[in-house]
């Protein structure tokens, strides 16, 4: 199945209720696939498909859907993601869940539509103003993209905050064999949602706390929530069971090439390993630090100017060497292999 | 008999804690039954007081004060 189709399928299977989106290359195929699924009407839960007038409208419709307790998502790319930053910030403080799929293109500005991983800093460090944080995940196969869609919904609702799946045109356009276990659609607990108070108490989805002590208290609660979120940090480690000549650290599409390089190096007797974060936020810093102890050298491989390397420094204090590919170029296998030295 | 002399046919019910003393009802009442009192409420304003017998006559239950009060401080006009 093609990545875009698989992502759309996984979303519908997981219980998606509403899709709101504004077309942008290279994310549009996800939207188009969802339009086709919606049109067929096979998924009873999938009640709303909506092409909005801008990403500003998309994010606010996501906010409305999440605030009323419904499973909603959008797919976009850098320029759209930046327009969404305002709404994401409101959602973080108002504790509104939804899923955004960012199909990273070459940026900033119009850049190009080739794959990059240059939205990483934006997504990891804040994706908004005032101390916003979002859950961030990055798949490296089509199958993993599918499971992360479901996981994204689950985490977003469990922690009541926005979740972002960071991916790129390679994954979205790639054909791969998939495995998917059909399961019951998700039914998150949403007794907090605002959809008319009915016979119950009133619900307020708000981000205004005019008294400093009130805002301080809420932000304190949010920080506790982020602390609890840490246990969701996910990663994979390849060949990490002994001393390493070099530990590569890479994620998403870059990690595929890094893994090829590691396997080739192993064949020629070099003890290379790969640490691959699956969640970027929360970041599996402790796990990485433990593996890194066994390695002579750390090398990040990513399609930006070294954004992951900065995150690693902040999370673990480690200072890996970095290979960065810019402008829509994917990492070159020979170069990655050479970097172990 | 005694009651109707002291009171009147209608009574305006006021939540004085909401009143901001804007005097819109004071001016709007055709019978001049409402005026600001001397007390100060929790918001720091002199809230409106109702008297059954205004400068221009008894309260007629016309509801004008209810309609114009922007604070929902005038909760309603009832038969006394």
């Amino acid at each position: 199945m093609q990545g875009a189709e698989a992502i759309a399928f996984a979303a519908a299977e997981s219980g998606l209720e509403a899709y709101f989106g504004y077309p942008i290359t290279p994310s549009s195929e996800i939207m188009e696939n969802l339009a086709a699924i919606y049109e067929k009407g096979k998924y009873g839960n999938f009640r709303v498909f909506f092409q909005t007038s801008s990403e500003i409208e998309s994010i606010n419709m996501l906010f409305g859907a999440g605030a009323s307790g419904h499973i909603a998502m959008t797919a976009t790319s850098g320029p759209g993601l930046s327009l969404m930053a305002e709404g994401i910030s409101y959602s973080f403080l108002s504790q509104v869940p939804f899923l955004i799929i960012d199909v990273n293109r070459g940026g900033p500005g119009l850049g190009n539509v080739e794959p990059e991983q240059s939205d990483l800093s934006f997504v990891y460090w804040s994706l908004g103003h005032g101390g916003t944080r979002v859950i961030a995940m990055s798949p490296f196969t089509v199958s993993e993209a599918m499971t992360l869609v479901k996981k994204g919904f689950e985490l977003a609702f469990k922690y009541r905050m926005p979740a972002v799946m960071l991916t790129d045109g390679v994954i979205v356009h790639m054909y791969e064999n998939i495995s998917w276990k059909t399961s019951e659609p998700l039914r998150p607990e949403v007794s907090w949602s605002a959809r008319g108070r009915g016979n119950g108490p009133r619900h307020e989805i708000n981000s205004i706390y005019l008294e400093p002590k009130d805002l301080r208290a809420v932000k304190g609660d949010l920080l506790k929530k982020l602390e609890a979120l840490k246990k969701e940090a996910a990663y994979e480690c390849y060949y990490c069971d002994g001393p390493l000549d070099a530990l590569y650290i890479s994620y998403g599409i870059s990690a595929r090439i890094a893994l090829d390089a590691v396997r080739d190096l192993r064949r020629s007797g070099i003890r290379a390993g790969l640490f691959r974060p699956i969640t970027i936020y929360p970041f599996a810093g402790e796990a990485l630090a433990n593996v890194a102890k066994m390695a002579k050298k750390l090398v990040t491989v990513e399609m930006n100017e070294g954004q992951m390397a900065k995150i690693i420094k902040a999370e673990t204090g480690l200072e890996p060497e970095g290979l960065g590919y810019l402008g829509g170029e994917v990492p070159r296998l020979e170069e990655v292999m050479e970097a172990w030295r | 008999m005694y009651r109707s002399v002291l009171k009147g046919k209608y009574e305006v019910i006021i939540n004085t804690e909401r009143c901001k003393g804007c005097e819109i009802c004071v001016h709007a009442c055709p019978q001049q039954n409402l005026e600001l009192g001397d007390d100060v409420n929790g918001l720091g304003y002199h809230p409106v007081k109702f008297s059954f017998h205004g400068k221009a006559g008894d309260c007629t239950g016309c509801n004008i004060c209810y309609w114009v009060c922007p604070e929902y401080a005038i909760l309603g006009v009832v038969k006394a």
């Binding site: 709101f20 108002s94 108070r197 307020e204 | 929902y72």
Partner: protein, 259 residues
């Protein structure tokens, strides 16, 4: 003697508007109308950004606070997913016509049944009286201390004129919500006609939503604090100046709810 208070408002709260401001009046009428229509339990207020934001402290219905200008988008999503809900927003003229014009006209064009109440006080009230897209010539604001130059800024935006271009809008009306000062021989009086008419407009707009249509009512009101006028002067200004520029009246009533 006690009266039963409206269940749409918190019994022990006071709203936080400036004294005499009709923002409070509009909120009160919405509370009355929701109760009269028996839809309090299904109501969702989407707060916009401006003085109407302060409604959340007072109104006792489900509430979602939007970013500045984005209330229509949020309202539409809620309505699409919760068709039984009664969804409304109070937007300021800055919120609806400056930063949020795109969201508003797209909502109007689509006609998803939600209700926008526009409180037009011709300035940015909450931020301290800056120019709004509705500010008339002659009203000094903090960002146009020398008055407005139309040649440069264009004339005030007319919401009803804009929205009348969209068939999706099923109820469209402009009313004055400011009580009119009446000067008798010996004293100042205020009329209640405007208030009653405004209440009817709120009721009819919500009825239109219940009938499946998008509704929009513009209320001409004051912001005496930022107009640097007394309450009385500001009320006079609405009737003598604002109402001449933005003509009140019914533009559309597709479902005949006014009858």
């Amino acid at each position: 003697m006690e009266v039963k208070q409206l269940s749409t408002f918190f019994p022990n709260a006071a709203n936080t508007y400036c004294p005499g401001c009709e923002h409070g009046l509009l909120l009160k009428f919405i509370g009355m109308a929701l109760e009269e229509l028996g839809v309090v339990d299904r109501a969702v207020m989407v707060g916009s950004v401006g003085c109407s934001t302060l409604a959340y402290k007072f109104i006792n219905v489900d509430y979602v606070q939007a970013p500045h200008g984005r209330a229509p988008s949020i309202m539409q999503a809620i309505k699409l997913l919760e068709p039984e809900s009664v969804v409304f927003a109070i937007q300021g003229d800055g919120d609806a016509l400056s930063i949020g014009l795109q969201e508003l006209i797209n909502a109007a064009n689509r006609g998803i049944p939600v209700t926008v109440f526009l409180y037009n006080n011709m300035v940015f009230g909450m931020t301290g009286g800056q120019m709004a897209p509705t500010t008339p010539n002659g009203l000094k604001t903090t960002t146009t201390p020398g008055g407005i130059r139309y040649k440069y800024l264009g004339p005030p935006l007319d919401a009803c004129k804009i929205l009348s271009g969209f068939d999706g809008v099923k109820y469209l009306k402009r009313v004055i919500i400011t009580p009119r000062p009446i000067y008798t021989k010996d004293r100042l009086m205020y009329s209640s006609k405007e208030a009653i008419e405004s209440y009817r407009a709120v009721l009819n707009a919500l009825k239109t939503q219940l009938n499946g249509g998008f509704s929009f009512v513009e209320f001409l009101g004051t912001c005496n604090v930022n107009w640097k006028m007394t309450i009385e002067e500001s009320k006079k200004y609405v009737h003598e100046v604002t109402a001449k520029m933005f003509r009140p009246g019914l533009c559309r009533d597709e479902f005949g709810v006014e009858k």
